[in-house]
């Protein structure tokens, strides 16, 4: 009951203080909003990039091992079984020469070329999908060493491309984390300064509270709540702006760079909302916590 009364007091004080120092409060809200927009854009770009990478990942995590003409069927099945038994391999599909030709002819992009070919120049192949992209190289090597592989065109593996994608993906991840860390530090400093100003404005009240026997956290509580409030309001504004801008931005980007398979993902908005609101509240709490520990002592 007493805790509830203290909470009510803290909420009231925080609300009053927010309005009493409106200029400082709004400056803090705007600064945190800008930071959270940057953080949100970072999350959205990260998500878009991971969508693109996932698309590529799916494509490049599958390689075709071409079978030399005249390889006995039993040898192919044996190698297929060996691959299936490999824990790194998700699936193996044997495509016969005939099936390969049918697939080639069925592709509308090959319509003109298909009419011109004579006989069946295509290889039979084993389409191997691996679980982890990093294992593609090892499976490729396994295929190339297999006796039944077509020595002129062993596999369709593009090692360089996969490695570059993996490298780019990890660098972008690192850059995202670094950017987030900088944003966290900047927002914590902004909230701390807001709290310092609020503490200055309420120094008389704090002095009286101290003299009448208020506990340290009774005095500090309203400032921490004010910090959380600042973070939440900023997060709500940043979220609204990002939600409004997300779809048009993706469409614009998509029309400019058609070859990058970027798409609008409405399901990501709920996780963005959760991340921004929790992030905003935590930033506010952290900044004000550090602020009150520094500036409010009884």
């Amino acid at each position: 009951m007493m805790k509830l009364r203290n909470l009510k007091f803290a909420l009231n004080s925080a609300w009053q203080s927010f309005w009493r120092n409106l200029a400082v409060s709004l400056a803090a809200v705007l600064s945190i909003t800008l930071i959270l927009i940057l953080a949100g854009v970072n999350l959205l770009v990260g998500h878009a990039f991971s969508q693109v990478v996932d698309g590529f990942r799916l494509k490049v995590s599958e390689i075709s091992i071409n079978v030399a003409d005249g390889t006995p069927l039993q040898a192919i099945y044996d190698f297929q079984d060996q691959l299936k038994a490999d824990p790194r391999v998700a699936s193996v599909k044997f495509i016969t020469k005939e099936q390969a030709l049918l697939d080639f002819q069925a592709d509308p992009n090959n319509a003109v070329f298909a009419q011109q070919i004579d006989g069946n120049p295509l290889d039979a192949k084993l389409e191997v999908r691996v679980f982890e992209l990093k294992d593609v190289a090892a499976i490729d090597l396994l295929g190339r060493r297999w006796a039944g592989v077509d020595p002129t065109d062993p596999t369709n593996y593009q090692g360089d491309f996969v490695n570059r994608m993996l490298e780019l993906s990890s660098w972008l991840g690192l850059a995202g984390i670094l950017l987030m860390a900088i944003l966290v530090v900047v927002s914590v400093v902004i909230v701390m300064n807001t709290i310092r100003t609020a503490v200055y404005h309420r120094r008389k009240e704090i002095e009286v509270m101290k003299l009448v026997g208020a506990t340290e956290w009774f005095v500090r509580g309203p400032f921490v709540i004010e910090g959380i409030m600042t973070g939440l309001i900023a997060a709500a504004i940043a979220l609204s702006l990002l939600v409004i801008a997300y779809q048009p931005a993706v469409e614009r980007f998509h029309s400019d760079l058609v070859f990058i398979p970027l798409s609008y993902d409405p399901t990501f908005i709920s996780s963005l909302a959760r991340d921004l609101l929790i992030g905003g509240a935590l930033l506010g709490a952290l900044g004000s916590y550090i602020g009150v520990r520094r500036y409010v002592r009884i």
């Binding site: 203290n6 026997g213 208020a214």
Partner: protein
């Protein structure tokens, strides 16, 4: 009615060889030994800069002694942990020269504030605030703001706030410093009534007329040391310390 303090009873406040030197090197108090029994009414007198305010700050544990020990109700203030401080300050009623009222709160809210920070329920706050305002003679002014009160009335509000949680002792630092003689006398009457109800009062003051008129215990501080401790004293010690003058 005047209660005679029992000087043989357990002291409510005790200073034992207390020294206070500030980081700047200023020696504010030197070897202070002082015992205040329960129910005492003690005037701290002396010129500005003599160490009265430092003594008050030590008593409310805004400062710690550099050397020596201060006991209040048997608890050593220097060893008190920070989290225990609020509980200690709730036992003390504090009154200052500048009233320390919150201008954006009404009189009722200012007095209630001392109970609100303790998380007391509304009904208890209401009855205690009504009693305290009645004691200081401000019933009916609950909804007034401090700016609309005279200096004397503002000090009464501050006293009501100091009394509202029924403290065992009151520390007053120049409570009449900003008041005219007639109002100062009214405020003193209030302190006497509070003392008569059993609360111990320690008051730092420059008000010579009142000290001389009341003839209560007078502890004179000069250059950080206790120059004189008279059970029924005057502001100046005519024989040994005529140089102590109110500033």
């Amino acid at each position: 009615m005047v209660l005679t303090p029992d000087f043989d009873s357990r002291p409510i406040i005790s200073f034992q060889h207390v020294w206070k030197t500030y980081p700047t090197g200023t020696e504010a108090l030197r070897d202070i030994n002082l015992v205040v029994p329960e129910g005492d009414f003690l005037f701290l007198v002396g010129p500005s800069g003599a160490g009265k305010s430092t003594l008050v700050r030590l008593l409310i544990r805004e400062e710690k002694p550099t050397k020596g020990k201060i006991f209040v109700e048997g608890i050593e203030l220097g060893r008190m942990k920070r989290r225990q401080l609020p509980h200690y300050r709730r036992k003390v009623g504090l009154v200052f020269q500048d009233f320390k009222l919150l201008p954006n709160l009404t009189i009722y809210e200012n007095v209630a504030f001392a109970l609100r920070v303790l998380g007391e329920p509304d009904d208890l706050v209401q009855s205690r605030v009504a009693d305290a305002l009645d004691t200081v003679g401000l019933s009916g002014k609950e909804l007034t703001y401090p700016a609309n009160l005279s200096g004397g009335e503002q000090q009464r509000v501050a006293i009501a706030r100091a009394l509202v949680h029924a403290p065992r002792f009151i520390i007053a630092d120049e409570p009449t410093g900003n008041l005219d003689p007639a109002t100062a006398w009214e405020i003193m009457q209030l302190f006497l009534r509070i003392n008569a109800r059993g609360a111990t009062v320690v008051m730092a003051t420059h008000n010579r007329e009142i000290v001389d008129l009341l003839r209560r215990r007078v502890v004179a501080i000069d250059a950080g040391q206790i120059a004189r401790d008279d059970r029924s004293g005057r502001y100046h010690d005519e024989v040994t310390k005529p140089q102590i003058r109110a500033q």
